[in-house]
């Protein structure tokens, strides 16, 4: 639709046959306008079912006064722009008509032609933008039709589909758990774009990616002058997601103080921007995700129990890829097909040996890792077939069969450190924390063990 603009349907309502015909012909000079002429208010009202995009309405009609015609149009089609074209310049009438919802008020004079032409062009631009927005929204909805997002037919995945259906048809908070790379954000998006909130925003925020001291302003926003550097007002993610869905990824990483503030907003359904006094009502659906076991975090005292119960809602656990059986092959074929299509390559076929090799791996990086493996295989294969030799597994992943390789303790250490460093994007502090060692110890190991 973005490339093929529809014509702008214009109703000209004018009892002066000559003037009406002239306006009709003038506006028709633009072939993208589809202009219809009506001589009375009744004729116009009787044809509103044809859904015009704009009405040019003569104020002094013989049958129904212009203000009454306007009122009737606005009652049924409040968004429809109506331009009043009047023979008399009457400020009081003009103000009253504009308050009654008229788009503009023109007096019939030498400028009418240009003013009308400009107004029509402005309305057309607005209509085109609105059409494009509708198309994009439809495309997104289609893209996130959840059977298109999450491919597979394993029993483990069928359970997920059933839970997603329930999430889509209710407003309940959803908590998604699963290993990294299992598609938690995709599931959250699919729930949002298939729910009644689909026309409103989906706002994702990764809690672990934002420093503790900034998370409050990210979520709730701040007023100008709230703190040094707050030069303008900032609208927080909660407000941006109004009417839609807020996706809080890696929720377990949230600081305990911030958890208290979040709990208050969820309970009260209202917030105040930092440095502000205005209480703002919120209507936001929450979807949270974590790769941790939140219940364990509660036991350890890292996560507030009351917030845990608030957020638990409908729990959806995404199975790791290694537990999804033949979904691995189904997904591999899908990724290969997509990659070849996107890069103008001939479609590839996995040999039996390649399929066996794919099934033998444990995929610590889950679907994301499989996609990378398949793309590399498609690049490495010169012909029509992807063979086992084209498939390379990423050795830096933490293999569950780590003990199958007989290496030294030092070798295991290196492997584990590399895995955690990659998982936390090279963040030494976080890696040290996760491994339960000091950061200086880790720095020393990185240096001495040549990692």
């Amino acid at each position: 639709m973005a490339g093929t603009k529809r014509p702008l349907k214009i109703f000209v309502v004018e009892d002066n046959l000559f003037y009406g015909e002239l306006l009709k012909r003038h506006l028709s000079l633009n072939p993208d306008n589809e202009v219809y002429l009506f001589k009375t208010g009744k004729e116009c009202l009787d044809h509103l079912y044809q859904k015009p995009d704009l009405i040019s309405l003569d104020y002094g009609l013989p049958d129904i006064p212009g203000d009454k015609v306007l009122k009737k149009i606005k009652a049924d089609y409040p968004e429809l722009p109506v331009i009043i074209v009047s023979g008399q310049e009457d400020i009081k009438t003009a103000v009253s008509l504009l308050r009654g919802g008229a788009y503009d008020y023109f007096v019939k004079d030498d400028d009418t032609k240009d003013r009308l032409w400009n107004a029509v062009n402005k309305i057309r631009q607005h209509m085109n933008l609105r059409d494009e927005l509708d198309v994009l929204k439809d495309e997104i909805e289609q893209k996130y039709a959840f059977r298109n997002v999450i491919k597979g037919s394993s029993p483990a995945l069928k359970k997920v589909f059933a839970l997603m259906e329930k999430a889509i048809h209710s407003n309940i908070t959803v908590s998604i758990t699963g290993e990294t790379g299992t598609g938690k954000e995709l599931v959250a998006k699919a729930i949002h774009y298939n729910s009644p909130r689909a026309k409103n925003p989906f706002i994702p925020i990764n809690v672990s990616a934002i420093p503790n001291e900034l998370i409050e302003s990210e979520l709730f926003g701040y007023e100008k002058g709230a703190f040094t550097g707050a030069n303008t007002r900032k609208i927080g993610k909660f407000e941006l997601a109004e009417g839609g869905t807020l996706f809080l990824d890696e929720i377990a990483e949230m600081d305990v103080n911030m958890q208290t503030k979040l709990l208050r907003v969820i309970q009260e359904k209202e917030l105040t921007r930092i440095g502000g006094h205005e209480v703002i009502k919120t209507d936001v659906r929450l979807i949270v995700a974590t790769h941790c076991n939140l219940a364990e975090e509660v036991k350890k005292g890292n996560f507030r129990q009351d917030l845990y119960y608030r957020l638990l809602g409908l729990p959806i656990e995404l199975p790791p890829l290694r537990n999804r059986g033949l979904d691995i092959i189904l997904l591999a074929k899908y990724f290969a097909e997509q990659y070849c299509k996107d890069n103008g390559l001939e479609q590839k076929i996995f040999t039996k040996a390649a399929q066996d090799k794919l099934m033998s791996y444990n995929y610590p990086g889950n679907v994301r890792e499989l996609a990378a493996i398949v793309e590399l295989a498609a690049v490495m294969s010169d012909g029509k077939y992807i063979d086992e030799s084209h498939i390379t597994f990423n050795s830096s992943g933490l293999p569950s069969d780590i003990l199958s390789e007989e290496i030294t303790l030092d070798g295991y250490n290196k492997k584990i450190i590399r895995y955690f460093l990659e998982k936390y994007d090279g963040n030494v502090v976080k890696t040290a924390e996760k491994l339960g060692i000091g950061k200086s110890t880790l720095y020393r190991m990185l240096k001495t063990k040549n990692i």
Partner: protein
Amino acid sequence: MPAKKDKLSLLREYLGNDDQQIKEMLELFLQNIPNDLNELSLVCKKNDIDSIQKTAHRLKSSVRFFGLDDVATLLQQIEISSKEQPDFEQLDKLTKQINKLMEQELIRFEKMLSLF
């Protein structure tokens, strides 16, 4: 090309200088204007103030497009007079004056039409 091009300049602006469209609009004008003038005379005789005002207003919108400023001014006078305290004798006089002027103008426009 018509001889009196200036009378049609506003029409040309509206119709993108398209001779065929100008011709059609001129035909429409010549076809409708005698009826409108008759109607004005009739409502004046009937002293129907509301209709006098409406018809004069409608006529004024049309004649302006053909550069008939004198006629438009007279129609404006009728419109204003009929809103205030109508002097029917005066309105009748103005109407007759308009008819006379239009009689000559219509002949000119008929000739103009034949040149297209």
